[in-house]
Symmetry: C2
Subunit: 129 residues, 2 copies
């Protein structure tokens, strides 16, 4: 792949990742998770951890239940080098209100450009949290 | 370790990491690198990659030669959860001028709390770069 193809593939991967977090249909969400993550992928953020596609899918389902009615979107640009990505995301009401949570995810990609390790950090949390 | 001890150990680790980047004496630098990184640690940023204590030490030596007279410092707070850290650093002239480069490092720690994987991203680069 040339640089532009890599860029497009990277943006498509981050798009799929965010789509998985927003997808309420269990079968479609599971398919997005399997396309986005390597089978043995590990995910860890300050409040959740999961290993493998099945557990990552269950973790996302639990987050969706907890934050029903809110949507994830990505913010700014994807910062990519080597097999690493960094991007910021926001969780907000569908109407486009001020985000409730903003975070940054760092991903390490596998040779087939799926996510192998994702580390999440929170940049903004609700004042009461 | 309780939470405060973990915090102190984490801050000491980041201090050692920055000290290694600033240490001009080869033997002292090598000792700091060995205390900071696991033997087989991997480091990757947009312009440099190294695997293992020896190569990481050589990479730091090369950066010191390239940026002679500049000093690294860490900026803001260390964001830590599970076995992951995130912190921002600046590279500036010793006199405290405007930083030439600002970056963010994300580290995954080993069981003995040394750095196992470090991923660096640049947040600010010189305009000419």
């Amino acid at each position: 792949m040339d640089a532009n193809e890599t860029d497009r593939a990277t943006l498509a991967l981050v798009d799929r990742y965010i789509a998985a977090w927003n997808e309420a249909d269990p079968a479609r969400r599971r398919a997005l998770v399997a396309e986005t993550f390597e089978a043995a992928a590990r995910y860890v953020d300050p409040v959740a951890q999961a290993e493998g596609v099945e557990h990552i899918d269950a973790m996302i389902a639990a987050v969706q239940q907890r934050f029903a009615g809110l949507r994830f979107s990505w913010v700014g640009k994807v910062d990519a080098h080597n097999d690493r990505l960094r991007f910021q995301w926001a969780l907000a009401a569908a109407g486009g209100d001020e985000p409730l949570v903003i975070g940054t995810d760092i991903a390490e990609l596998s040779a087939d450009r799926r996510m192998q390790t994702v580390t999440g950090f929170f940049d903004k949390l609700p004042a009461a949290a």
